[in-house]
């Protein structure tokens, strides 16, 4: 636990954290000494009277004072260390994240990261402040007190010492079980919540098909199942939770019986027996809370493991002596890449292609053929498993990520905007861009029309993630941002999802405009873009199947030609009820047979 803790915090935090934990441990030990000193005080008081106890009382008062001072010091130190941990962890995670390959940030990872950065860090911050001190009180204090028993009566001390390992064992067992139970309960509860959430999100379709009742019924079944599961978990865990409490109480009862037997036997002074039992009562109380503290520590440890998993992720190696790309030619040379190691169907399988400056290359192919992977490897989201990706003659791995990002501009399929103004979002690409430069890229990207519609133009805030803008509007901001970056290589993902017809035409126009002097790669969906390209690279199953000028490929009658024909068929699709070859089915509604509107 401590090792995980220190590894998460990094070397510069190690000293203060160790000091804080050591101090807290010392304070808890001292608390044990305070309790232990009650024994001589009470023994003298009960046996000889108050005057005989005075010396021990003075010692007790002195040690308690020392304890109070040390406790105060430790509280201050713990707070300070907690603050330092919060700062240090956030910084470490932040600095590490920007060095990780973008390929690392998959959908699940992002959700997990959010939890790590918020909940994970705050729980870890709490370890020295709120979690470790009560735990030390619950464990260290009783151990010191039991040791003190040996000074007075070895038989009772031995009984207590014999109990501790048993209590410890029960503690570990119940702790594990409670931890597992917590995880299982969270799963059940998450599942129930996600069922309701799915139901909420599916409302349009559920309603469109009148399934609110039936949909509700299957939801109800799911909720019932989860309710039952939670119930069973609870009934199973209660005896386990009981076990630890029972063990601690049993220990106290055992000591009580021991002491009474010894006194009745005449083998133990009654005054000492009472004093020892007071000590036993004082240390079993914190001991009883150990289970709670253990559970809290366990949760914090789980969070720490998550943090460490993030910090252990390997960043992309940076070159020791970076090479500058010469020119903007893009080359893929026998590139093979799989998203998961040992994947039978790699995303790219020996792909070779070349894109020259001043040309437009259209990447075409069915979904999953590797088009997007080409873009990702070029921007070094991942490194190729085999083969080489070159930019201006230099292997992208030798260029260095900062330099590379200056050379390649991507227009993402999923556009993310920061909660700032439109202008600020653009300036992310070029912090010092002038107003004219902004206006120029706005005109080029069609953003100018969007700005006219926005209440405060350039100064409109876009909301978290850009939620205040429509999909098409965000896309234009993203295009403008990439243009402003003014990189010699531009990759456009012509995803049709966020685009309306006007945006689509605009992307084609922009791509052509850019291709005058840059190397432009387009993940193409529009026939118009493909037709206008200088080069078509047709991908299938990670291989470059055909490449060449679009007209040439069409004439060749290969895969690309097939593809275009299918596409033509899609374009030829007509929604009309009046097609003579497709008579109306008898199941549909009346009235259309003699409808004058149909031609």
């Amino acid at each position: 636990m401590i090792r995980a803790f220190l590894s998460a915090l990094g070397p510069e935090q190690a000293g203060p954290v160790k000091a804080s934990l050591a101090l807290t441990t010392a304070v808890s030990a001292l608390q044990g000494v305070v309790f232990a000193l009650l024994v001589p005080v009470l023994t003298e008081l009960l046996r000889e009277g108050p005057r005989a106890a005075l010396g021990w009382v003075a010692a007790l008062a002195l040690v308690t004072l020392f304890y109070a001072l040390l406790r105060t010091l430790s509280l201050f130190v713990n707070f300070r260390v907690g603050g330092a941990i919060s700062r240090g962890l956030h910084r470490r995670i932040g600095e590490h994240l920007v060095r990780l390959p973008l390929g690392w940030f998959t959908g699940n990872r992002v959700g997990e990261l959010n939890r790590v950065v918020t909940d994970g860090v705050s729980r870890t911050t709490n370890v020295p402040v709120h979690i470790y001190p009560p735990l030390a009180d619950a464990v260290v204090t009783p151990v010191v007190a039991v040791a003190a028993l040996f000074l007075h009566d070895w038989r009772i001390a031995l009984a207590a010492a014999a109990c501790l390992p048993v209590v410890w064992m029960v503690f570990t067992l119940s702790n594990d079980a409670v931890g597992r139970n917590d995880a299982a309960r969270d799963l059940v509860s998450d599942e129930a919540a996600s069922r309701v959430l799915e139901y909420a999100r599916s409302q349009p379709v559920l309603r469109a098909f009148g399934r609110t009742e039936q949909g509700g019924r299957s939801l109800e079944k799911a909720l019932d199942a989860e309710h039952g599961a939670a119930r069973r978990l609870l009934l199973r865990i209660v005896p386990v939770m009981l076990a630890y409490s029972f063990a601690v109480r049993l220990m106290f009862a055992l000591l009580m019986v021991c002491a009474v037997l010894l006194v009745l036997d005449g083998g133990l002074d009654p005054a000492l027996a009472v004093a020892l039992l007071v000590l036993a009562a004082r240390f079993t109380h914190p001991l009883a809370t150990a289970a709670d503290q253990g559970a809290a520590l366990r949760m914090a440890t789980n969070q720490l493991d998550r943090i460490n998993a993030v910090l252990d992720a390997r960043p992309l190696p940076e070159p020791e002596s970076p090479v500058l790309p010469r020119g903007a030619a893009v080359e893929f040379d026998g590139v093979t890449f799989a998203y998961a190691r040992g994947d039978d169907a790699p995303a790219l399988d020996g792909a070779t292609l070349r894109a020259e400056p001043g040309t437009l290359t259209a990447l075409v192919g069915p979904s999953g053929s590797g088009k997007t992977t080409v873009a990702r490897l070029l921007a070094r989201f991942h490194d190729a498993d085999r083969g080489q990706v070159r930019l201006g003659g230099a292997d992208v791995r030798d260029i260095g990520s900062e330099e590379l990002s200056r050379h390649v501009a991507l227009v993402f399929q999923d556009v993310y905007l920061f909660d700032a103004t439109v202008a600020e979002n653009l300036r992310l690409a070029a912090p010092d861009a002038t107003g004219e430069q902004l206006d120029r890229v706005a005109a080029l990207s069609g953003l100018d029309a969007v700005l006219d519609d926005l209440p405060e133009g350039w100064d409109t805030r876009v909301g978290e993630g850009g939620t205040a803008l429509s999909g098409g509007q965000k896309q234009r901001v993203s295009i403008a941002r990439a243009l402003l970056k003014d990189a010699p290589v531009v990759v456009l993902d012509e995803a049709s999802s966020a685009l309306d017809t006007e945006n689509e035409a605009l992307v084609t126009r922009t791509a052509l405009e850019l291709a005058r002097e840059r190397t432009v790669l387009v993940i193409a969906h529009r026939p118009a873009t493909v037709a206008a390209a200088d080069q078509v690279v047709f991908l299938d199953a990670g291989r470059v199947v055909e490449s060449g000028a679009p007209g040439e490929l069409l004439a060749r009658g290969g895969r690309y030609a097939d593809f275009v024909r299918t596409r033509e068929r899609a374009r030829g699709w007509r929604l009309t009820a009046s097609d003579a070859t497709t008579p109306p089915t008898p199941t549909t509604t009346e009235g259309h047979e003699n409808d004058p509107a149909r031609t």
Binding site: R71, L75, R207, S245, V260, L264, S367, R406, D500, T582
Partner: protein, 604 residues
């Protein structure tokens, strides 16, 4: 009784107690009896937990007595101590069980009620922050209420019982010593409440700093692709680092400004201090002859019990407040106004009339985003003749999807009316039997493929389902799944966007409604599957009254009627050729898509 979640007591944060707000009471009403039982049981457990200590005091008196030791009494005391200890454990366990089971039932009934309500609110409610709020309601808020019911309320019972019982006993033993310990605890509480008062305002700031760090972290992580790619690491990263530093500074400053008082109260109210002070005072008092030594034992054992609860009360009060706020949100969700439910039978024919329809997205929860400002639809008149295809075209944000959504009553119009066969859609009981919908955002449920297709007709036979799948050109793909039609979506049926779309078309085919709305069904699909999707759609459209929201003009050139929308209005309508020759907005759009004036549907 050990608990799963711990009261991490800092003494530095919590606020003073407040009456729980009424939504909480409303929410808890169904399980009120069981909560009371759990609280009473926990109170009993706490009181019983003190009995062994009291027995120990009495045992001390008996053992230290001048005369011969009364053995029978000794064993009786030991027996009572052990018995009470076991009884305390039993009562505590019972309390945990009752509380958790009650909470478990509460979660079920709240989730059920939420689901029931959600099926009746206007769909507009879900847009914007709606589903985030639902998530908070069904997950985080229920978790907060769980802590309250299962942990906090029973704990509060012990917080009250323990000092009360201890105090009564100690006063009975020796009122002077009891007074000393009461004074000590009172001083501690005084300091404690001063610490709390000072931290009230700080608490809000703390939450604020925490929020800032949360949102900047979310932004940092969500936008990491952009951050890295635009080489703007330092800047976007800076926002995050600044929030992190602010938070750490705040944490340290806050603890520095409050700790002298906090530490004071912590020390005064901690077991070693209370024990030592009362023991020292006891020795003093017995020196003066005012108390007997055996009474000192009572205080050494029981005085710490007076202040023990103070260590947890702060976090408990915080949890109660959090639960109160959570309950408020949950009840607000449960009270969301619902759509009016109509009672008229399905209309006999399928002529659809939009008459002066206006609508704006100032949604019913008061949320409004900049994009949704203003009217989405302004006095739209449109007639869909039975058996014809009407296409809505126009720039994004023109109101096409909104108009389509109103026909399926995802929202209700603010003004004007929409009728099908003369009946207002708001008055038709089972509108879904009349109006079918293929949505832009295809959503398959985590159920079997067969159930997904049969969504609109739960009683459909396997043959009917398979026939619909064949017509929608998806049957082959489904049959290739590991369990065919019984494969579960998202588990062993991983369908691509285009495949999901064809399943949703099969769904609409099977539902077989006379009126059909198709919304941008071809978005985000690669050309190969698009061809299949469109074949399926052509099949679906046959013979129905169809309203199609189109974004590629070429797909609808053959429609019976094309309505061109702009800024929430229908600005033109007619056939493709009519509109083109008119040279208006449509002709403009046609040209913008790279077509020539005379290229009237290249593939006809």
């Amino acid at each position: 009784m050990s608990r799963e979640r711990t009261a991490t007591t800092d003494g530095a944060g919590p606020k003073p107690p407040e009456q729980p707000p009424s939504p909480l009471k409303t929410l808890l009403r169904p399980i009120r009896g069981r909560i009371r039982t759990a609280v009473v049981l926990q109170g009993a457990a706490s009181a019983l937990g003190l009995v062994p200590l009291i027995c120990l005091v009495e045992l001390a008196r008996t053992l230290l007595a001048e005369e011969a030791v009364d053995t029978a009494r000794v064993w009786l005391l030991v027996g009572v101590a052990v018995g009470a200890s076991v009884a305390a454990l039993a009562a505590g366990t019972a309390s945990t069980l009752v509380g958790h089971l009650a909470d478990n039932d509460l979660q079920l009934s709240v989730r059920r009620a939420l689901a029931h309500r959600m099926s009746r609110v206007p769909l507009g409610w879900f847009t914007g922050r709606g589903s985030g709020r639902v998530k908070k309601g069904v997950h985080d808020d229920i978790e907060d209420v769980h802590s309250l019911v299962a942990h906090t309320l029973p704990d509060l019972a012990s917080v009250l019982t323990v000092p009360l019982v201890a105090l009564v006993y100690l006063f009975a033993v020796d009122w002077r010593l009891a007074l000393v310990s009461v004074l000590l605890v009172a001083a501690g509480i005084l300091l404690f409440s001063r610490a709390m008062a000072g931290s009230m305002a700080k608490m809000a700031q703390y939450a604020e700093a925490m929020n800032r760090i949360n949102s900047s972290a979310v932004e940092f992580v969500d936008g990491i692709q952009v951050v890295k790619h635009f080489g703007g690491h330092r800047r976007a990263h800076e926002r995050f680092t600044r929030a992190a530093d602010d938070f750490a500074d705040f944490f340290v400053n806050w603890s520095r400004s409050t700790t002298p008082v906090t530490v004071g109260s912590f020390l005064l109210l901690s077991a070693p201090t209370v024990t030592v002070v009362t023991v020292v005072a006891g020795v003093g008092l017995s020196l003066a002859g005012w108390t007997e030594p055996a009474s000192v034992v009572a205080f050494a054992l029981l005085a710490p019990a007076l202040c023990a609860p103070m260590n947890v009360i702060g976090s408990r009060v915080q949890q109660t407040q959090a639960a109160g706020a959570a309950a408020g949100r949950v009840t607000a969700l449960l009270d969301t106004p619902t759509l009016h439910q109509g009672e008229e039978p399905p209309p006999p024919e399928s002529r659809v009339v939009f008459d002066g329809v206006s609508f704006s997205y100032t949604d019913h929860t008061g949320d409004r985003t900049a994009a949704e400002r203003g009217r989405a639809l302004a006095e739209v008149d449109l007639v869909l003749e039975p058996g014809t295809v009407t296409a809505l075209v126009g720039p994004s944000g023109a109101g096409k999807s909104t108009l389509a959504a109103l026909l399926a009553r995802f929202h209700d119009a603010d003004a004007g009316s929409i009728t099908v066969g003369g009946a207002d859609v708001r008055e038709i009981a089972d509108l879904y039997r009349t109006v079918g919908f293929v949505l832009q955002d295809v959503r398959l449920l985590r159920e079997t493929v067969a159930d997904n297709i049969a969504l609109g007709r739960p009683g459909a036979t396997r043959e009917e389902i398979a026939a619909a799948a064949r017509a929608a050109q998806i049957a082959d793909r489904i049959e290739a799944l590991p369990r065919g039609y019984d494969s579960v979506v998202g588990e062993d049926a991983d369908l691509s966007g285009g495949e999901a779309q064809r399943v949703s078309i099969a769904r609409a085919l099977l539902a077989d409604t006379p009126v059909l709305v198709l919304d941008e069904a071809t978005a985000a699909v690669d050309p190969v599957s698009e061809a299949a999707v469109q074949d399926a759609l052509s099949e679906l459209a046959r013979g129905r009254t169809v309203l199609v929201v189109a974004h590629r003009l070429t797909t609808v050139t053959g429609a019976d009627r094309i309505a061109v929308m702009d800024s929430g209005r229908v600005v033109e309508s007619g056939t493709h050729d009519e509109l083109l020759s008119r040279g208006g907005r449509y002709a403009e759009l046609w040209r913008a898509q790279g077509h020539r004036r005379d290229e009237s549907g290249a593939d006809q």
